[in-house]
């Protein structure tokens, strides 16, 4: 957005517009009432335009003060009080901080109080701006802009007098440590270059003498540097006239070189060195200026509007940046997933091609595997009674006195195996499934009262059965010969003829 700059001199006021690296002269107004009227006419229909006033007047006061080192509202209050004590009209007054100093009891802040001796000359012009609805960015004086110019022309200079030939006259500003200390304007008439250069030298020497008198510069120190901006085409004359001595070291800077240093590429015809200050006021305005907050209210609101939108835009940009990184990750993940999917498809196709050469089945490979594996498991958990019966039959041939009443063959589960184990089998069956064979029979051809003989024969029979993978799980003898049981007998009595009965249980694990 272009900024408009009202260059305020004692005779005339010039309205410039600054856009980019260009400075253009829009209008020129006389300092009298007709000029104000013309200015009001010019402002018509320019509501919301950005304006700044750059004053280049001789009557500018500089006064150094010290105030207690304070901050915030306390500092503002004491600064306003000092300004009110110094100046009758504080509408256009400023206090520039020029450092701190340690006093005997407290730390003080050094202030350079500055204002114009005649602030009334500004009033109608500022009122015109206010009435037009323009936004006043600030009221500056050329000396307030001098530190910025000095920093660009001689960045390393600790102390320097910046001398420029403006429309208003010869402007001299003393800058120390990047801060304005003093300035003066000496009016000039049309002069030949040599005369202007000689005038610049003599005035600079006078200023240096004055500063030395004020002890603003050390008396026996190094020569004070003077940066003199020579008008276009007058550098040679200036360099010839500006002879340095023990007090002042002159450095001539061509106006073209100075314009390049501040970044100004196009200046209006007839403009003096004030173009440098005007461009700095438009692009890099200093924080210190003369206008009150009331005069700048529209500008402040405008700045606030832009700041709020900029904050929103910045937040959006940050979010967009973060989201972009997420999208990038998403893109990479999707690309990776596509690669994996492609390779998975490729592997599946190769698998399908290879399995196509497999034997033709009536079912899927998965079902084939499941069906056969489960069937095998069922078959392994099954058994047929034939082998058990053949085993019993073969053993029975060796014991002709044994007569079997019943054979009970069954498949036992894990629970029954544990029962067999609890029954005290010598080598319990550990398999999940087992074949259980219960054999009930009688002992013939032995006297019933021959306990020892009958018990021996049954135990021998049982031991013979416990072979070929079968284990003896339980033996129920005709007589209970254990200590826990009851042993009965009828010695000498009549034999009932009934053969003693026994039960033998065998077990054989599956798998």
């Amino acid at each position: 957005m272009a900024r408009h700059l009202l260059y305020f001199t004692a005779d005339n006021h010039y309205l410039y517009s600054s856009a980019g690296h260009r400075l253009e002269l829009e209008a020129k107004f006389s300092a009298d009432d007709s000029g104000i009227t013309t200015f009001r006419e010019h402002l018509r229909g320019r509501k919301g335009t950005l304006f700044a006033v750059v004053a280049d007047l001789a009557g500018e006061d500089f006064h150094e003060e010290q105030v207690p080192l304070l901050r915030g509202a306390d500092r503002d209050a004491i600064v306003q009080r000092r300004l009110a004590q110094r100046y009758r009209d504080t509408r256009l007054a400023a206090a520039l901080s020029i450092g701190q100093v340690a006093g005997p009891q407290r730390r003080n802040e050094r202030l350079l109080l500055t204002s114009f001796t005649n602030t009334q000359q500004f009033t109608p012009w500022l009122d015109a701006l206010e009435e037009s609805g323009a936004r006043l960015a600030g009221v500056y004086s050329v000396p307030l802009l001098a530190p910025a110019l000095a920093a660009r022309l001689a960045p390393r200079a600790q102390r320097a007098i910046v001398v420029t030939a403006n429309r208003a006259g010869l402007r001299q500003c003393f800058v120390e440590d990047g801060r304005l200390r003093f300035a003066r304007l000496e009016r000039t008439v049309d002069m030949v270059p040599q005369a202007l250069a000689a005038f610049a030298r003599s005035e600079t020497m006078r200023l240096a003498q004055y500063l030395a008198t004020l002890r603003a510069v050390p008396r026996d120190g190094a020569p004070l540097q003077a940066l003199v901006v020579a008008p276009r085409g007058e550098r040679a004359a200036f360099e010839q006239a500006l002879v340095s001595d023990a007090r002042v070291a002159f450095q001539t800077v061509d106006i073209a070189q100075a314009l390049g240093a501040v970044g100004l590429r196009q200046v209006p015809e007839g403009a003096g060195a004030e173009a440098l200050y005007l461009h700095l006021a438009a692009r890099k305005p200093p924080r210190e200026q003369f206008a009150s907050s009331d005069d700048r209210r529209r500008y402040f609101v405008w700045r606030l509007q832009r700041t709020v939108v900029a904050a929103g835009a910045l937040a959006f940009a940050a979010c967009a940046l973060y989201a972009s990184s997420r999208w990038l990750e998403t893109y990479e993940l999707r690309a990776g997933a596509a690669d994996h999917a492609r390779e998975a498809r490729s592997a599946a196709e190769r698998y399908a091609r290879i399995t196509a050469a497999f034997p033709v089945t009536e079912t899927t490979t998965e079902n084939l595997r499941v069906a056969v594996l489960e069937f095998r498991r069922i078959a392994e958990a099954s058994a047929q009674p034939e082998s058990a019966l053949v085993h019993v039959s073969r053993v029975l041939e060796q014991f002709p006195q044994m007569d079997l009443d019943a054979v009970n063959w069954r498949l036992g589960g894990l629970g029954e195996n544990r029962e067999v184990e609890r029954a005290g089998a010598a080598a319990p069956v550990r398999a999940e499934h087992a074949v259980i064979v219960e054999i009930a029979g009688r002992v013939n051809a032995t006297q019933r009262n021959d306990y020892r003989g009958i018990t021996g024969q049954v135990q021998a029979f049982a031991n013979a059965l416990a072979s070929g993978g079968y284990q003896l799980a339980r033996t129920q003898l005709p007589f209970d010969v254990t200590s826990e049981g009851t042993l009965t007998g009828d010695i000498g009595g009549r034999d009932s003829g009934e053969a003693p009965r026994f039960t033998i249980t065998l077990a054989r694990g599956l798998r």
Partner: protein
């Protein structure tokens, strides 16, 4: 600093614009986050599928050997009609035929209702194992009659015969000489197992 109503109105639009921009930014971040989560899930799924397919491809030689080996068993199950629906009429026919061929004395049987033994997930359908318990009572002249009956039953096919229990005891009847008197009586409980392959090609 206090703002006038006019200034507040002037600040309203920029504030609204800033809020809209901020909301749009948050929306972008949210959408991007959700999209990334979905992409991560896609990536994980694709990666798992790729690994699974690669593993399956690596095992293909073993699988081929397994298929050839299991296919023989499967074909045998099919040939014996163990695979497929129950064939109760064939069972009845087989028992009658065995009784006649072996000249068994008395034979009674009862086949209970079919029950699901196990259902295993497969692709594309499950593989279900069913069992129908048959209770058989036989009068025997000799114990070998039982062994022959069981062998003939197995040879008849139409199911896998898993004998659960079988008891044999003396009848205690004395031989009369005029009629054939059974000396033994057997009671058996046999599971007739069939397999239904729901994924089999029709």
């Amino acid at each position: 600093m206090n703002f006038t109503r006019e200034e507040l109105v002037r600040l309203a639009f920029p504030t609204l614009a800033a809020i809209v921009l901020l909301a749009a930014g948050v929306w972008l971040v949210t959408i991007a986050g959700e999209s990334r989560v979905k992409a991560q899930a896609q990536f994980a799924a694709a990666h798992a599928e790729r690994r699974q397919n690669a593993d399956r491809l690596a095992r293909i030689a073993e699988e081929e050997r397994e298929v050839r080996e299991k296919l023989d068993v499967y074909k045998q199950l099919k040939r014996l009609n163990i695979l497929g629906e129950e064939r109760r009429l064939e069972w009845a026919d087989a028992i009658s035929r065995i009784r006649n061929e072996r000249e068994l004395l008395d034979l009674t049987y009862r086949v209970n209702r079919q029950r699901l033994l196990k259902s295993l997930p497969g692709k594309p359908g499950s593989v279900d194992f069913y069992a129908s318990t048959m209770i058989v009572q036989l009068d025997l002249l000799h114990e070998e009659d039982l062994l022959r009956f069981l062998a003939d039953l197995r040879a008849s096919g139409n199911a896998y015969y898993s004998v659960r229990n079988c008891s044999m005891r003396r009848t205690g009847q004395a031989a009369t000489g005029t009629t054939i008197t059974p000396r033994l009586r057997a009671d058996c409980e046999i599971d007739l197992i069939t397999v239904m392959d729901r994924g089999a090609k029709t």
